[in-house]
């Protein structure tokens, strides 16, 4: 068989992930309800003061996405591990790096869809103003989801086979994500609220830089990670 090219391989993996997801929509449904309840819990815990809630809405939104990403990332390789399909993919002449790219994009689109669904909820619960800068808000959301998905894919491939995998994924992922998350929360904040110091472009650039670092490092180490499976 002729080896499949890098981009085409990634596209095939991505398409397969999308099809699987679309057929059941199980992952998306589960994560949506999980993060919905997280956002609700935040609004209960922080009391009725709408000013406090509005000020912290970007943080709650990203924490909701982050917690949900643990579920969906863990699931993303559990499916493969159960059916031995990762081995199948690797035996097929698909480059492991294509699998990485495809999986990252698959996970990122799932998280992005989740974020899109959560945005109206933040309006209802925290009374934020989405119309201030919708384009850059979506850009921040997309870059942030990509930033969670890139290291998350590497770690979920690792922890899907480790003992106590449900503990391992957040333990490894959260510290690495903190700088990225900080940039994402700030970018979202300045897209939602008044940006007196024009900080938004800087945070978006920082977010892009983190995405590039995580994507390329993950791209380099992922083949080694799945090889041993």
């Amino acid at each position: 068989m002729r080896p499949v090219g890098l981009v085409r391989g990634a596209w095939l993996v991505l398409k397969k992930d999308w099809q699987l997801e679309w057929r059941t929509r199980a992952r998306l449904t589960a994560t949506v309800f999980f993060s919905l309840s997280t956002l609700l819990l935040f609004s209960f815990a922080m009391g009725p003061g709408i000013d406090v809630l509005r000020a912290h809405a970007p943080g709650y939104l990203w924490l909701g996405i982050l917690f949900a990403s643990i579920l969906s990332l863990g699931e993303s390789f559990r499916v493969e591990a159960e059916n031995q399909s990762l081995t199948g993919l690797l035996l097929a002449p698909v480059d492991a790096r294509s699998i990485f790219l495809g999986k990252v994009l698959g996970n990122a689109t799932l998280l992005f869809a989740l974020g899109l669904l959560l945005l109206p909820v933040t309006v209802a619960l925290y009374d934020v103003d989405l119309t201030r800068n919708p384009g850059l808000l979506l850009l921040a959301l997309g870059l942030g989801c990509l930033g969670i998905a890139a290291p998350g894919t590497v770690y979920s491939a690792m922890s899907s086979n480790a003992r106590a995998r449900d503990v391992m994924l957040p333990l490894l992922l959260f510290p690495v994500l903190v700088p990225m998350l900080l940039a994402a929360v700030s970018a979202t904040k300045f897209a939602l609220m008044k940006d007196v110091q024009e900080q938004l472009p800087s945070w978006l650039k920082l977010l892009t830089a983190f995405d590039l670092i995580y994507l390329s490092v993950g791209f380099l180490v992922f083949p080694r990670v799945v090889e041993d499976d």
Partner: protein
Amino acid sequence: MTPEARNRLVAIGAILVAGAALGWIALGNMGENLVYYWKPSELLAQGEKAYGATVRLGGVVVPGSVQWNGDHTSLTFQVADTHLPTAAKVTVSATETPPQMFREGIGVVVEGSFQSNQVFKTNRLMVNHSNEYKAPHDGGMPGDWKDTVTQAANEQ
């Protein structure tokens, strides 16, 4: 091109992308806007927009401006951008007892909010030490606050 050579090329490309991104963070000056605190001039430049929000203000304590109120429960002083007499100044009213290092001319960072009466109210006062460590017998002035301030003063 053999597959191995192409793989190596792709790997080198990925390393270059990561390095370039790190260099971009380092040299891209994007940190300038990502402030941990505002300087008085930046705060004043906001005008009315700055009122009320919880922000941080950093600068040097203007010599001669430190005053306690009658029963020693609150402290007012002015914070300036630099040591220069022309620098922008903001009056700060602190309810917290300052650390012992607090003195005229030292760098401080205060957390609080800018009131519409042009006073910055704070209950968290932090002292910012420079990177200078000198023995006391050295004499001379207290270490200038941060390199940039020193440079700015030298340029004048």
